[in-house]
């Protein structure tokens, strides 16, 4: 990792034509940009890109030199093997920091490569608790993990929604299963009964069979651990089967996409949770959506604010350390504490987000309203 900055600047020169005295700092971003969740992957990349472009516009100086941040986006296809390959590519390319990956399944094997290569990484969306328990020094995340989110959700369903009988569905991904299991535990601990535990997959569109089975168990609340692309159609089928139970999902379903996909089937009976605080509660978060929309001509999906915060955490730490060298800025990254768009960004000693606040939203007047 002692590639000289000059060499990088020369490489950058050929492609981007920056002034020779500018120092180029490469930041990597990895997410699935092809495949079924590529819309979320692109969203992550856009979030990191926005942070970097804003920093460049602001002008950042490190060690007396003007710095130009450059984002290198890679596609891991949500596949663990490809994840390690692109991780190695980024290390080779001399990136100083990595925002990614999206899925826990790709982030965990990739984190080993980053650790070996001495590149710190912040995942904006991998929620598997194990990620930060591997003992690697440079692994962080800006999103609450499954345990943090699941326990809030479980309690919420019992105490706020008054659920006595709960049905739980998960999509058999590392994310969905992890969240559903933690929610299951928390709900049981709060005194509710799990009347049905059903499963689907992340490519399914038809949930009639499991929903019919759930209907027979007559739950007060249905919880779904999975993504919006399944939650949307699932909502429609809930309505078509005449199920009146309340519907709760985690951050995977807490998107504008979910509202769009559920169509007229979504009602004020639908709740979801998001890590962090609502965007409009944070300074700088208020117009995040507009800035994003203006730049990319697309709506914020789910994790781009977290990717935005992750990239800014790196930039802040680098500024504090006055260096883009991982060895120098890593101690600052551990101490970082600033208001991001999703809440206060500060990490605990393992690398999880310290605050770990989880906000619950209810569907109201065509949008998610924080409760």
């Amino acid at each position: 990792m002692k590639k000289t900055v000059v060499a990088l600047a020369v490489m950058g020169f050929g492609i981007t034509g920056v002034y020779a005295q500018d120092m180029v700092v490469k930041i990597g971003n990895v997410a699935p940009l092809t495949g079924t969740i590529s819309h979320l992957g692109k969203d992550n990349e856009n979030g990191a890109r926005l942070a970097i472009e804003e920093a460049n516009a602001r002008g950042v100086t490190l060690g007396g030199k003007k710095v130009k941040f450059e984002l290198i986006g890679e596609d891991d296809q949500a596949d663990p093997r490809t994840g390690t390959t692109v991780a190695q590519r980024l290390v080779d390319a001399g990136v100083k920091a990595v925002v990614g990956h999206l899925n826990s399944g790709t982030t965990i094997p990739a984190s080993r490569i980053y650790d070996q290569g001495g590149v710190p990484m912040i995942s904006p969306s991998a929620t598997n608790p194990k990620l930060t328990q591997q003992g690697y020094k440079g692994v962080f995340r800006t999103i609450a993990n499954d345990v943090q989110q699941g326990s809030v959700l479980g309690k919420f369903m019992v105490s706020e929604l008054g659920a006595k009988k709960i049905a739980i569905i998960d999509d058999r991904t590392a994310y969905g299963q992890g969240l559903a299991d933690e929610t299951d535990k928390a709900a049981k601990a709060s005194g509710a009964q799990i009347v049905a535990r059903e499963f689907t997959n992340d490519k399914a569109t038809d949930f009639n069979a499991i929903l019919t089975k759930i209907r027979a168990a007559n739950p007060d609340v249905i919880f779904f651990g999975g993504m919006d692309a399944q939650a949307g159609p699932m909502m429609r089928q809930v309505k078509q089967l005449g199920i009146t139970a309340k519907f709760v999902t985690g951050d995977g379903g807490c998107s504008p996409e979910m509202i769009k996909l559920a169509g007229d089937a979504i009602s004020s009976n639908v709740y979801c949770s998001m890590a962090g605080v609502p965007l409009d509660k944070m300074p700088g978060g208020v117009d995040f959506r507009e800035r994003y929309k203006k730049r990319f001509n697309a709506d914020v999906q789910i994790y781009s604010p977290y990717a935005f915060d992750a990239a800014n955490a790196f930039i802040t730490a680098m500024q504090k350390a006055d260096s883009a060298e991982p060895a120098k800025y890593l101690p600052e990254l551990k101490k970082v504490n600033f208001p991001g768009v999703t809440g206060t960004v500060a990490f605990d000693d393992k690398g999880d987000i310290k605050e770990g606040a989880v906000t619950l939203y209810q569907f109201k007047n065509g949008d998610w309203a924080a409760m």
């Binding site: 092809t34 590519r89 094997p109 591997q134 299963q177 992890g178």
Partner: protein
Amino acid sequence: MNELVAAVPWLGKRNPMAARWLLIILAIAAPFIAMQFGRSWVRILDFALLYMMLALGLNLVVGFAGLLDLGYIAFYAVGAYTFAFLASPHFGIHLPFWMVLPLGAAFAAVAGIMLGFPVLRLRGDYLAIVTLGFGEIIRIFMLNLNYPVNITNGPQGINMIDPIVLFGWDLSRNLQVTEEISIHSLYLYYYLFLACVIGSIIFIQRLQISRVGRAWAAMRDDELAAKAIGINTRNMKLLAFSLGATFGGVAGCLFGAFQGFVSPESFSLMESIAVLTMVVFGGMGNIAGAIVGAFVLALLPEILRDVAIPLQQTLFGKVILDPEVLRMLLLSLAMILMMLLRPAGLIPARARYAHPENLHRGGAAK
């Protein structure tokens, strides 16, 4: 080896000896050449070698014995999970590599026979769909066997798998030769995998010209005739499935140890299709074809990652398509064009033991 030698362009036919040495030198020097472009290319080469093993194994089943298998990746999964079970903190068992590898191979072989028995009567596309189903069944079990008893840890996968340790020598650490010189772990894995691939090639080469190989060729070309001349097609089919599976199992063990993490996502249907594509792309029914197919298709997507942006900049002066989109576009076009231009693959199987012309489709021809 001879097939590979003959496949070397220009030199192969004129001076086989020189071509042979060229290949050997290339195989040994490959990681050092790759290193010039970055360490990731050494990693890609490592994976390419694993794919070669898979392609060689699948080629036994599809190319030699003529049994279309769309669920081959299941054996890879069996191998990888065997290693993960027996050498990771998941169950707290840490058996050494040399004990786990044969076990992984054996379990995969048993899985191969388990698949083989019910499908003995099936042919062609019926066989294809049942093997596809078998692959999915294995994957779904891996995905769901965390409940009621946690065996596979479900979708979360198994992490912190032990690295390969040979005679007290940990391959995941860089080898310190002297104070200054150290050999990176990726090279060590490369040579281990290379040794496995070479071993497989030698084994398969001997097998191909053996009684079994000839029986397979006969069975593939005409099952009825093969039966009539006294070949026990049932045993031959089971042997093909289990031997093919063994290669998958070994590759899976190596994969699990190399990656340090296994989860069901790595064993999807698309991976089965990818390996089959390598075999057909390279040229079915011959060793060189499987090797070259795996090599080209493992490297091509990675090369496309690098050329996607510069290519557009020189052609159009700006980036029109995202690199990942262009990569998929070029990859799919390459698959289609390749099959149109060389339907028998990059290196068509040569006569004597392989008769691709007899594999023509359509009942009309028979």
